[in-house]
Symmetry: C2
Subunit: 353 residues, 2 copies
Amino acid sequence: MTTDKRGLTYSDAGVDIAAGNALVERIKPHAARTARPGTMDALGGFGALFDPRAAGFADPVLVAATDGVGTKLRVAIESAAAGLGGLDGVGIDLVAMCVNDLVCQGAEPLFFLDYFATGKLDVAEAEIVVSGIAEGCASAGCALIGGETAEMPGMYAKGDFDLAGFAVGAMERGGALPRDVAAGDVLLGLASDGLHSNGFSLVRRVVERAGLGWDAAAPFADGPLGPALLTPTRLYVRAVLDAMRAGGLHAAAHITGGGLTENLPRVLPDGMGARIDLGAWRLPPVFTWLGEAGGLDEAELLRTFNAGIGMVLVVAPEVAEVRAAELTAAGETVVRLGHVEAGQGVSYEGRLA
Amino acid sequence: MTTDKRGLTYSDAGVDIAAGNALVERIKPHAARTARPGTMDALGGFGALFDPRAAGFADPVLVAATDGVGTKLRVAIESAAAGLGGLDGVGIDLVAMCVNDLVCQGAEPLFFLDYFATGKLDVAEAEIVVSGIAEGCASAGCALIGGETAEMPGMYAKGDFDLAGFAVGAMERGGALPRDVAAGDVLLGLASDGLHSNGFSLVRRVVERAGLGWDAAAPFADGPLGPALLTPTRLYVRAVLDAMRAGGLHAAAHITGGGLTENLPRVLPDGMGARIDLGAWRLPPVFTWLGEAGGLDEAELLRTFNAGIGMVLVVAPEVAEVRAAELTAAGETVVRLGHVEAGQGVSYEGRLA
């Protein structure tokens, strides 16, 4: 506390308006490359405009989702602070966590806004993060039309920040998923790219228990541990939308916190369950290591992590093979996991290996 | 760090899924009372659905805004921790910061999603906050259709949390504000209810400099200082929408960080400025005190705080009197601040008093 008689200004209070304005200028080119049909310029700029008709929708129903990156951010922040990198992917995670949800409702992602909050704004660091958000948006075909940068001295520790994302998509009326899910429908799993953005509080405990730093050699991959855990969440937008347009897609489940065990039942009607053969795919090494180092049993793994399957498509049996072939051709790794049957929840057979 | 050989579970990692589920159940009745035409139930729940046609829009253009509450949250958290209350209003602030922006673009707020992040979820505390969000949504006529509660051990200090809000509104095509702003247009100021949600990093410095705690008697009002600073941001949604429908409204500017000085020019065309008579209204006591205790000059006050004016409407001169009378009848305190003229920025005459 100062006792001198100089007056205070907002920058004395730890809020650097010039840094905020500098960031806005640096973000502009990143946001600009996410423009898509429907993007509009707004006078005044109190809100961001979007035109669903210009985006191709005649009678749209809107779908909205919000999510964060969770404590994966801590691993990213600490890895970056250790000089290992790690901030460039969290923006992709943020977008993916939202838009992978939207497509599960049958919606095409249209636009995205981000909230970036920190104790003291580091313009270069923030630009890396927002650049990742823009990269995710461009890959998902949605426009980054707005955002908020909050500098909150006293709320976040030095170097820390939090992120929230908001995505809006649309479908033509009547196009919502899930629909027509029936016993015998085939469950096609799309491989994940790693841990994605869930379960990181547990990951951090396992790493702590193993006595490893983020710069230690990853026990399950080449290179240091921090970056090896930070592979960005895979974007399934184009895969799901293509499968939906091709036909026979009855539902899609984004496998986030809660794993296959909790996420797959969310898209099944009452009285229907899923049967999954755990021998149908190989558990990726990161999960094997987490299970061993953390003493996690199989059930805990399957309801905390994606276990190698980031998205499940529920498809009519007669088109399962052709849909799987198309998805494979488009670059997905597709696993025939099992099928829908009378019952409830997920019944597993075989063992993860 | 433990060295025993028990396996870890997600709750060992500091994430309490039961608390999260309990909060979801507690939020449901609050969210339910914000339902409005357009609200839809979604199967699966990976995203929240909204029907713009059912909300009355034939050819909607969408507007989106995101914002937080800034370091007003710190004052609220610390006041609540001191037993003074303070959490019940921040949800209203969060909604107001977003929807007051939407109406400035000419949009009717339709739906809202919130992001609530904390280190350790306190269900009762979170319910107070979300209840305030629902109250704000209900007052603004927008539906609370989704949200994310993030428990992030290690990111937030004990008892701390952050909030982000995301609002989407719509207008019929061609209805965007600002439009037709011209020299001679009258500036009608709508009184604020206090500090609203900006400038709190500076407020905290001033309070610290004055050597006051949140439980000290407020020098500018009855009761303790903390709660006296926390009056929720006023919702101007109905006032602005009513004025827009009545006719002659050319623009509206939400007076947030940057004050009248920076926000009003955002809605004026190139070559137009605003002339404001600072003697047209009385500076509310909270700002007088902040100015004196912080040694802030008038210019600093006018570009950090709302200075008693939370929203400015730019109206055609021939309807200014009748619009002002209608707004007054609807419960607003209306000040004829000045007018639009050739120039740029805001030119002040007279003195704040």
